[in-house]
């Protein structure tokens, strides 16, 4: 994804958290938020249409949780970069998320600087 536009989808059932992430990413060069979704099921549908490069993914959501959504997305697009942003802050959950195919895990609460740093590293392929 180096030196190209990175298209991001934000998935979180909290509208204020989506807004916080969107604002944080707006300060980053070559990063564009293309969609926001409030649950995993909707996110999978939108993902199929828009094919974003990177997804920020909450885990505890109605209808389909983040683990289910990650599994669906990875099966459709194995190269998608998924960054989990979750209040389930224990190590076992983070390792489960990585096992499901996520490339990074950010524990809530996080600052704008923290989410930007993680996204920057993922975009840079670190």
């Amino acid at each position: 994804m180096k030196n190209t536009e990175t298209r991001v989808m934000i998935v979180d059932d909290s509208s204020t958290t989506r807004e916080t992430i969107r604002r944080a990413l707006s300060s980053m060069k070559n990063v564009t938020v293309v969609a926001e979704c409030r649950d995993g099921e909707l996110a999978v549908q939108v993902f199929q249409s828009l094919k974003p490069d990177l997804v920020t993914m909450d885990l505890t959501m109605p209808r389909l949780d983040g683990f289910g959504a990650i599994k669906e997305m990875i099966s459709r697009s194995p190269n998608v970069k998924i960054v989990v942003c979750s209040a389930l802050a224990d190590e076992a959950t983070a390792l489960d998320a990585i096992d499901f195919g996520a490339v990074a895990f950010v524990a809530k609460p996080f600052s704008a600087e923290e989410i930007n740093e993680v996204i920057r590293d993922v975009v840079a392929g670190k």
């Binding site: 059932d13 909290s14 509208s15 204020t16 958290t17 807004e19 916080t20 604002r23 505890t60 959501m61 109605p62 979750s86 209040a87 389930l88 802050a89 224990d90 076992a92 959950t93 524990a107 809530k108 609460p109 996080f110 600052s111 923290e114």
Partner: protein
């Protein structure tokens, strides 16, 4: 269920961390006290996180309007009722989720149930006294209510 000092400390640290990372300012977290068996009153904007897995019960945050306006205002977010309930739900989600750091994977949480209304009393199936942890931002108050038992 009696909570250990370690669990109560984890919860208090999680609350403190939220206000520091969101640059909201200094919060004052008071020692938890025990409420009436199986129930807890609302203040105004509330969110309940159902707990399942190895535990049964809820973690629930209830705040005054002034408290939630401070939280939204410091993050540059609008004061709509939707935003007020949403941010209370997200704070409750974070405080409950962080309890897993102490209690492990068996402490599973569901998405928040958002409740708007003053001076209601929520009744819980858990026949135990809830822990009520007051949180202050200046003079504005919120209560984090923790009530669960092992299944």
């Amino acid at each position: 269920m009696k909570l250990s000092e370690s669990t109560l400390k984890t919860i208090a640290q999680s609350i403190e961390s939220y206000f520091i990372k969101k640059k909201i300012g200094k919060s004052q977290i008071h020692h938890a006290y025990l409420g009436a068996i199986g129930e807890a009153p609302t203040i105004e904007f509330s969110a309940l996180i159902p707990i399942y897995g190895s535990y049964n019960g809820a973690v629930y945050l209830t705040t005054s309007k002034g408290f939630v306006e401070k939280v939204l205002g410091e993050q540059g977010l609008g004061f709509s009722e939707d935003n007020m309930l949403d941010i209370v739900g997200e704070m409750a989600n974070i405080f409950a989720g962080n309890i897993r750091l102490d209690l492990g994977e068996g402490f599973s949480i569901m998405p928040p149930v958002l409740i708007s209304g003053k001076e209601m009393v929520l009744k819980f199936e858990v026949k135990d006294q809830p822990y009520i942890m007051p949180i202050y931002l200046d003079e504005d108050i919120a209560n984090l209510v923790i009530i669960f038992e092992k299944t």
